[in-house]
Subunit: 135 residues, 2 copies
Amino acid sequence: MISGKFAITLHILTLLSKHPEEYLSSEFISASLNMNPVLVRKEIANLKRNNIVESKEGKNGGTRLLRNASDVTLNDVFKMTFDNVTLGYSKNRPNQNCPVGKQINEKLGNLYEDMNLKISKQLKDISLLNFADTF
Amino acid sequence: MISGKFAITLHILTLLSKHPEEYLSSEFISASLNMNPVLVRKEIANLKRNNIVESKEGKNGGTRLLRNASDVTLNDVFKMTFDNVTLGYSKNRPNQNCPVGKQINEKLGNLYEDMNLKISKQLKDISLLNFADTF
DNA sequence: CATACTGTAATATTTATAGTTACAAATATA
DNA sequence: TATATTTGTAACTATAAATATTACAGTATG
Protein backbone atom coordinates (compact mmCIF):
# COMPACT_ATOMS: atom_id res chain seq x y z
CA MET A 1 0.00 0.00 0.00
CA ILE A 2 1.29 3.43 -0.88
CA SER A 3 0.48 6.39 1.32
CA GLY A 4 -1.85 9.10 0.05
CA LYS A 5 0.22 11.97 1.48
CA PHE A 6 1.35 13.38 -1.85
CA ALA A 7 -2.16 13.34 -3.33
CA ILE A 8 -3.72 14.77 -0.18
CA THR A 9 -1.11 17.50 0.17
CA LEU A 10 -1.44 18.48 -3.47
CA HIS A 11 -5.22 18.54 -3.14
CA ILE A 12 -4.95 20.84 -0.12
CA LEU A 13 -2.53 23.14 -1.93
CA THR A 14 -4.75 23.28 -5.00
CA LEU A 15 -7.68 24.37 -2.86
CA LEU A 16 -5.56 26.99 -1.08
CA SER A 17 -4.27 28.33 -4.38
CA LYS A 18 -7.86 28.75 -5.56
CA HIS A 19 -8.56 30.92 -2.52
CA PRO A 20 -5.44 33.01 -1.96
CA GLU A 21 -5.59 35.36 1.00
CA GLU A 22 -8.45 33.37 2.53
CA TYR A 23 -8.04 31.16 5.57
CA LEU A 24 -9.61 27.80 4.75
CA SER A 25 -10.64 25.62 7.67
CA SER A 26 -9.62 21.98 7.95
CA GLU A 27 -13.33 21.22 8.01
CA PHE A 28 -13.83 22.84 4.61
CA ILE A 29 -10.79 21.11 3.15
CA SER A 30 -11.73 17.73 4.58
CA ALA A 31 -15.16 18.04 2.95
CA SER A 32 -13.52 18.30 -0.45
CA LEU A 33 -11.21 15.40 0.29
CA ASN A 34 -13.95 13.40 2.01
CA MET A 35 -11.71 12.53 4.89
CA ASN A 36 -11.23 13.22 8.57
CA PRO A 37 -10.25 16.84 9.39
CA VAL A 38 -7.61 15.63 11.84
CA LEU A 39 -5.75 13.96 8.99
CA VAL A 40 -5.95 17.18 7.01
CA ARG A 41 -4.47 19.09 9.92
CA LYS A 42 -1.66 16.55 10.10
CA GLU A 43 -0.74 17.15 6.48
CA ILE A 44 -1.03 20.89 7.03
CA ALA A 45 1.40 20.56 9.94
CA ASN A 46 3.87 19.18 7.41
CA LEU A 47 3.24 22.07 5.03
CA LYS A 48 3.87 24.47 7.88
CA ARG A 49 7.15 22.81 8.76
CA ASN A 50 8.14 23.51 5.19
CA ASN A 51 6.99 27.12 5.26
CA ILE A 52 4.52 26.65 2.45
CA VAL A 53 1.45 27.67 4.44
CA GLU A 54 0.53 29.40 7.67
CA SER A 55 -2.37 28.72 9.98
CA LYS A 56 -4.39 30.88 12.30
CA GLU A 57 -5.97 29.32 15.36
CA GLY A 58 -9.31 30.26 16.86
CA LYS A 59 -12.57 31.40 15.39
CA ASN A 60 -12.45 32.16 11.67
CA GLY A 61 -9.04 30.55 11.67
CA GLY A 62 -7.67 28.22 9.05
CA THR A 63 -4.79 27.93 6.66
CA ARG A 64 -3.52 29.93 3.71
CA LEU A 65 -0.60 29.85 1.32
CA LEU A 66 2.53 31.64 2.40
CA ARG A 67 4.12 31.49 -1.00
CA ASN A 68 2.99 32.29 -4.48
CA ALA A 69 1.52 29.31 -6.31
CA SER A 70 3.91 29.91 -9.18
CA ASP A 71 6.76 29.56 -6.72
CA VAL A 72 5.93 26.08 -5.41
CA THR A 73 6.70 23.10 -7.62
CA LEU A 74 5.33 19.60 -7.51
CA ASN A 75 8.86 18.53 -6.69
CA ASP A 76 8.62 20.53 -3.46
CA VAL A 77 5.46 18.59 -2.64
CA PHE A 78 7.18 15.34 -3.58
CA LYS A 79 10.15 16.02 -1.32
CA MET A 80 7.81 16.92 1.50
CA THR A 81 5.76 13.75 1.33
CA PHE A 82 8.18 11.04 0.18
CA ASP A 83 11.64 10.09 1.25
CA ASN A 84 12.00 8.91 -2.30
CA VAL A 85 10.29 6.65 -4.75
CA THR A 86 11.48 3.07 -4.94
CA LEU A 87 10.38 -0.16 -6.49
CA GLY A 88 10.95 -1.69 -3.08
CA TYR A 89 13.43 -3.85 -1.26
CA SER A 90 13.04 -7.33 0.08
CA LYS A 91 12.05 -7.08 3.71
CA ASN A 92 14.72 -9.33 5.18
CA ARG A 93 18.44 -8.78 5.08
CA PRO A 94 19.73 -10.95 2.23
CA ASN A 95 22.43 -13.53 2.84
CA GLN A 96 25.73 -11.67 3.09
CA ASN A 97 27.66 -14.79 2.19
CA CYS A 98 26.10 -14.83 -1.25
CA PRO A 99 27.68 -12.40 -3.71
CA VAL A 100 24.26 -11.41 -5.00
CA GLY A 101 22.70 -11.16 -1.55
CA LYS A 102 25.57 -9.06 -0.35
CA GLN A 103 25.24 -6.40 -3.01
CA ILE A 104 21.67 -6.46 -4.21
CA ASN A 105 20.41 -3.63 -1.99
CA GLU A 106 23.22 -1.33 -2.98
CA LYS A 107 22.61 -2.02 -6.68
CA LEU A 108 18.89 -1.44 -6.27
CA GLY A 109 19.66 1.76 -4.40
CA ASN A 110 21.71 3.04 -7.33
CA LEU A 111 18.91 2.24 -9.71
CA TYR A 112 16.31 4.00 -7.56
CA GLU A 113 18.53 7.02 -7.13
CA ASP A 114 18.59 7.53 -10.90
CA MET A 115 14.86 7.05 -10.95
CA ASN A 116 14.31 9.75 -8.36
CA LEU A 117 16.46 12.18 -10.28
CA LYS A 118 14.27 11.66 -13.34
CA ILE A 119 11.09 12.05 -11.33
CA SER A 120 12.36 15.20 -9.68
CA LYS A 121 13.27 16.59 -13.06
CA GLN A 122 9.73 16.03 -14.29
CA LEU A 123 8.11 17.49 -11.18
CA LYS A 124 10.32 20.55 -11.00
CA ASP A 125 8.86 21.72 -14.28
CA ILE A 126 5.32 21.85 -12.89
CA SER A 127 4.37 24.64 -10.50
CA LEU A 128 1.36 24.52 -8.23
CA LEU A 129 -0.06 27.28 -10.42
CA ASN A 130 0.42 25.16 -13.56
CA PHE A 131 -1.28 22.24 -11.86
CA ALA A 132 -4.15 24.21 -10.34
CA ASP A 133 -4.82 26.01 -13.60
CA THR A 134 -5.86 22.77 -15.26
CA PHE A 135 -8.95 22.60 -13.02
CA MET B 1 4.58 -0.22 2.79
CA ILE B 2 5.70 -0.99 -0.72
CA SER B 3 5.79 -4.58 -1.88
CA GLY B 4 9.17 -6.22 -2.36
CA LYS B 5 8.12 -8.07 -5.52
CA PHE B 6 10.35 -6.15 -7.91
CA ALA B 7 13.42 -6.52 -5.70
CA ILE B 8 12.73 -10.18 -5.02
CA THR B 9 12.07 -11.00 -8.65
CA LEU B 10 15.20 -9.20 -9.79
CA HIS B 11 17.22 -11.00 -7.13
CA ILE B 12 15.90 -14.34 -8.34
CA LEU B 13 16.66 -13.49 -11.96
CA THR B 14 20.16 -12.35 -11.09
CA LEU B 15 20.85 -15.67 -9.39
CA LEU B 16 19.42 -17.60 -12.34
CA SER B 17 21.50 -15.60 -14.78
CA LYS B 18 24.62 -16.51 -12.80
CA HIS B 19 23.79 -20.20 -13.23
CA PRO B 20 22.39 -20.56 -16.74
CA GLU B 21 21.35 -24.08 -17.69
CA GLU B 22 21.19 -25.12 -14.03
CA TYR B 23 17.92 -25.72 -12.21
CA LEU B 24 18.07 -23.78 -8.96
CA SER B 25 15.75 -24.92 -6.17
CA SER B 26 13.48 -22.50 -4.33
CA GLU B 27 15.32 -23.59 -1.20
CA PHE B 28 18.64 -22.42 -2.60
CA ILE B 29 17.18 -19.13 -3.83
CA SER B 30 15.36 -18.47 -0.57
CA ALA B 31 18.64 -18.94 1.29
CA SER B 32 20.16 -16.08 -0.67
CA LEU B 33 17.11 -13.90 -0.13
CA ASN B 34 16.71 -15.02 3.47
CA MET B 35 13.01 -15.57 3.05
CA ASN B 36 10.44 -18.32 2.96
CA PRO B 37 10.76 -20.66 -0.07
CA VAL B 38 7.00 -20.56 -0.61
CA LEU B 39 7.21 -16.84 -1.34
CA VAL B 40 10.02 -17.50 -3.78
CA ARG B 41 7.88 -20.07 -5.56
CA LYS B 42 5.07 -17.54 -5.79
CA GLU B 43 7.31 -15.01 -7.51
CA ILE B 44 8.61 -17.75 -9.77
CA ALA B 45 5.02 -18.58 -10.69
CA ASN B 46 4.76 -15.00 -11.92
CA LEU B 47 7.97 -15.34 -13.93
CA LYS B 48 6.60 -18.50 -15.50
CA ARG B 49 3.36 -16.80 -16.49
CA ASN B 50 5.55 -14.33 -18.32
CA ASN B 51 7.66 -17.02 -19.99
CA ILE B 52 10.90 -15.78 -18.47
CA VAL B 53 11.72 -19.01 -16.65
CA GLU B 54 10.69 -22.65 -16.60
CA SER B 55 10.53 -25.02 -13.66
CA LYS B 56 10.97 -28.71 -13.30
CA GLU B 57 9.13 -30.56 -10.55
CA GLY B 58 10.38 -33.51 -8.60
CA LYS B 59 13.81 -34.51 -7.37
CA ASN B 60 16.65 -32.34 -8.70
CA GLY B 61 13.98 -29.98 -9.94
CA GLY B 62 14.09 -26.22 -9.78
CA THR B 63 13.94 -23.21 -12.05
CA ARG B 64 16.05 -21.87 -14.87
CA LEU B 65 15.96 -18.99 -17.32
CA LEU B 66 14.10 -19.54 -20.55
CA ARG B 67 15.48 -16.44 -22.20
CA ASN B 68 18.89 -14.96 -22.62
CA ALA B 69 19.82 -12.50 -19.87
CA SER B 70 20.66 -9.90 -22.50
CA ASP B 71 17.13 -10.27 -23.79
CA VAL B 72 15.28 -9.43 -20.57
CA THR B 73 15.16 -5.80 -19.45
CA LEU B 74 14.46 -4.34 -16.05
CA ASN B 75 11.37 -2.84 -17.63
CA ASP B 76 10.08 -6.36 -18.22
CA VAL B 77 10.59 -7.07 -14.53
CA PHE B 78 8.91 -3.78 -13.66
CA LYS B 79 5.84 -4.54 -15.79
CA MET B 80 5.63 -7.96 -14.23
CA THR B 81 5.68 -6.80 -10.65
CA PHE B 82 3.96 -3.39 -10.67
CA ASP B 83 0.79 -2.14 -12.24
CA ASN B 84 2.58 1.15 -12.34
CA VAL B 85 4.38 3.52 -10.06
CA THR B 86 2.35 6.27 -8.46
CA LEU B 87 2.76 8.83 -5.75
CA GLY B 88 -0.58 7.62 -4.45
CA TYR B 89 -4.19 8.65 -4.32
CA SER B 90 -6.29 9.66 -1.39
CA LYS B 91 -8.13 6.60 -0.19
CA ASN B 92 -11.65 8.02 -0.22
CA ARG B 93 -13.56 9.26 -3.20
CA PRO B 94 -13.21 13.04 -3.16
CA ASN B 95 -16.29 15.26 -3.13
CA GLN B 96 -17.67 15.32 -6.68
CA ASN B 97 -19.45 18.60 -6.04
CA CYS B 98 -16.13 20.36 -5.58
CA PRO B 99 -14.35 21.25 -8.82
CA VAL B 100 -11.04 20.16 -7.35
CA GLY B 101 -12.42 16.99 -5.78
CA LYS B 102 -14.12 16.08 -9.02
CA GLN B 103 -10.98 16.19 -11.14
CA ILE B 104 -8.04 15.61 -8.83
CA ASN B 105 -7.71 11.88 -9.48
CA GLU B 106 -7.76 12.31 -13.22
CA LYS B 107 -5.09 15.02 -13.01
CA LEU B 108 -2.94 12.89 -10.74
CA GLY B 109 -3.42 10.01 -13.15
CA ASN B 110 -2.06 12.10 -16.02
CA LEU B 111 0.94 13.07 -13.95
CA TYR B 112 1.68 9.49 -12.94
CA GLU B 113 1.30 8.29 -16.51
CA ASP B 114 4.09 10.61 -17.61
CA MET B 115 6.15 9.43 -14.69
CA ASN B 116 5.75 5.79 -15.68
CA LEU B 117 6.81 6.53 -19.24
CA LYS B 118 10.02 8.06 -17.93
CA ILE B 119 10.66 5.16 -15.58
CA SER B 120 10.02 2.64 -18.33
CA LYS B 121 12.41 4.50 -20.58
CA GLN B 122 15.11 4.27 -17.93
CA LEU B 123 14.51 0.59 -17.23
CA LYS B 124 14.33 -0.48 -20.86
CA ASP B 125 17.94 0.51 -21.26
CA ILE B 126 19.14 -1.96 -18.63
CA SER B 127 19.16 -5.66 -19.43
CA LEU B 128 19.32 -8.38 -16.83
CA LEU B 129 22.80 -9.09 -18.17
CA ASN B 130 23.85 -5.45 -17.62
CA PHE B 131 22.48 -5.58 -14.10
CA ALA B 132 23.92 -8.97 -13.16
CA ASP B 133 27.31 -8.07 -14.57
CA THR B 134 27.79 -5.42 -11.90
CA PHE B 135 27.96 -8.13 -9.23
C1' DC C 1 9.81 -47.10 -3.41
C1' DA C 2 12.30 -43.47 -0.91
C1' DT C 3 13.69 -38.90 -1.55
C1' DA C 4 13.53 -34.29 -2.98
C1' DC C 5 11.45 -31.15 -5.34
C1' DT C 6 7.31 -27.90 -7.13
C1' DG C 7 2.45 -25.98 -6.71
C1' DT C 8 -0.84 -24.05 -4.14
C1' DA C 9 -4.49 -23.35 -0.69
C1' DA C 10 -5.55 -21.90 3.78
C1' DT C 11 -4.36 -19.48 7.58
C1' DA C 12 -1.77 -16.50 10.72
C1' DT C 13 1.19 -12.67 11.70
C1' DT C 14 3.13 -8.28 11.18
C1' DT C 15 3.28 -3.72 9.73
C1' DA C 16 1.64 0.50 7.53
C1' DT C 17 -1.97 3.50 6.76
C1' DA C 18 -6.17 5.68 7.86
C1' DG C 19 -9.59 7.06 11.04
C1' DT C 20 -11.51 8.44 15.64
C1' DT C 21 -11.98 10.51 20.03
C1' DA C 22 -10.84 13.75 23.19
C1' DC C 23 -9.42 17.89 24.81
C1' DA C 24 -6.23 21.94 25.67
C1' DA C 25 -5.08 26.32 23.65
C1' DA C 26 -6.08 30.22 20.81
C1' DT C 27 -8.90 33.86 18.74
C1' DA C 28 -12.92 36.53 16.96
C1' DT C 29 -16.84 38.81 18.02
C1' DA C 30 -21.21 39.65 20.25
C1' DT D 1 -15.76 38.75 29.18
C1' DA D 2 -18.48 34.74 27.70
C1' DT D 3 -19.42 31.96 23.78
C1' DA D 4 -18.47 29.81 19.65
C1' DT D 5 -15.20 28.22 16.54
C1' DT D 6 -11.05 26.70 15.12
C1' DT D 7 -6.19 24.71 15.38
C1' DG D 8 -2.79 21.35 17.53
C1' DT D 9 -1.80 17.10 19.04
C1' DA D 10 -1.77 12.80 21.73
C1' DA D 11 -3.62 8.38 22.36
C1' DC D 12 -6.03 4.90 20.67
C1' DT D 13 -8.64 1.89 17.29
C1' DA D 14 -9.60 -0.08 12.88
C1' DT D 15 -8.57 -1.53 8.30
C1' DA D 16 -5.90 -3.23 4.78
C1' DA D 17 -1.77 -4.91 2.70
C1' DA D 18 2.35 -7.50 2.76
C1' DT D 19 4.78 -11.26 4.50
C1' DA D 20 5.25 -15.73 6.64
C1' DT D 21 3.89 -20.38 7.89
C1' DT D 22 1.86 -24.85 7.65
C1' DA D 23 0.29 -28.52 5.26
C1' DC D 24 0.00 -31.58 1.78
C1' DA D 25 -0.93 -33.28 -3.04
C1' DG D 26 1.54 -34.06 -7.23
C1' DT D 27 5.79 -35.17 -9.85
C1' DA D 28 10.37 -36.70 -11.20
C1' DT D 29 14.79 -39.09 -10.09
C1' DG D 30 17.53 -42.78 -9.16
